[in-house]
Point group: C2
Chain length 195, copies 2
Amino acid sequence: MNEHIAPVAQEKAYRLLNHGPTVLVSARHGGVENVMAAAWSCALDFLPPKLTVVLDKATKTRELVERSGAFAIQVPTVAQLELTYQVGHRSMHDAVDKLAQCGVELFGMEGHDLPFVVGCSAWLACRVISEPHIQRTYDLFIGEVVSAWADSRVFSNGHWTFETAAPELRSLHYVAGGHFYAIGDAQDTGNVGLP
Amino acid sequence: MNEHIAPVAQEKAYRLLNHGPTVLVSARHGGVENVMAAAWSCALDFLPPKLTVVLDKATKTRELVERSGAFAIQVPTVAQLELTYQVGHRSMHDAVDKLAQCGVELFGMEGHDLPFVVGCSAWLACRVISEPHIQRTYDLFIGEVVSAWADSRVFSNGHWTFETAAPELRSLHYVAGGHFYAIGDAQDTGNVGLP
């Protein structure tokens, strides 16, 4: 495990997703591990932290999430631009070695039976809150964040530090057709630090 | 209506939210109009386009959405930084002149009984898809996008043009405590233009 990975307090975990990054979703079941990209993931609650993610019925990752009842959400970086695009456009249904093809390396976190992607800036271990109707009707899954971690070089004391961190640690925000934006400059209101 | 406002095709409407901006939610019922900020809004489907938004039970806007069955989602710009913060932190329950206090100006779109916020970069008129269980349990609302428009200076031919548009037209991405980021530089994979 990377020396820069530090735990994030439960009440600050929503901040890892609040700015709307494209994420990677990973899951494991029966010895099979997969990772996909998802632009449609969003914070849902502060404490306990919850989030939503849309998982298409065609994806192998969804099958692993439904069978295991757990998944990890992670925030990929500018350095992982091509990896993020590739895991979102290749399917394990077509190529069992998808992860190797996409250059994905996985690691574990003690106490969590989940595969985490090396090189991201944040990781959220989630358990599925079963809501069969919206899973079936909208492909929408709700997860409760049971633990979270971030790379202390770009998230510390409960805050992203994109303005001072290396540019390749910035988050990615997908639009379409292989075209992303990185997160940009800080914009502080006159109310920074107020509750 | 601003001369730069142009319709967005239904199949491209999801792109207005795909990069995860903080949005403004507006609604009208019984002669009352309100606007709030929401960092927790996300695309849900391509066609017909759908989206999710989290509306806390304490907000006046939620009451208007529940009564009217409709709302607008709009993408505020860097030029609207203070307005976005203020509509997210003041409540009409405390001040009936909230919108005037926050500097919000509204306009109409023919065929839609909704208030739209002047100066945003994109507008999505939505009807509520009633899902009482998730509305009650998670404050989560699903909307179908019935029409969408964008400012052609920053979104044209189905694409955001942040890289060439004026910096004050960039989208805002909220973290916490009055601290936002603007969307940043384009990051193109080797697959731009591929399906």
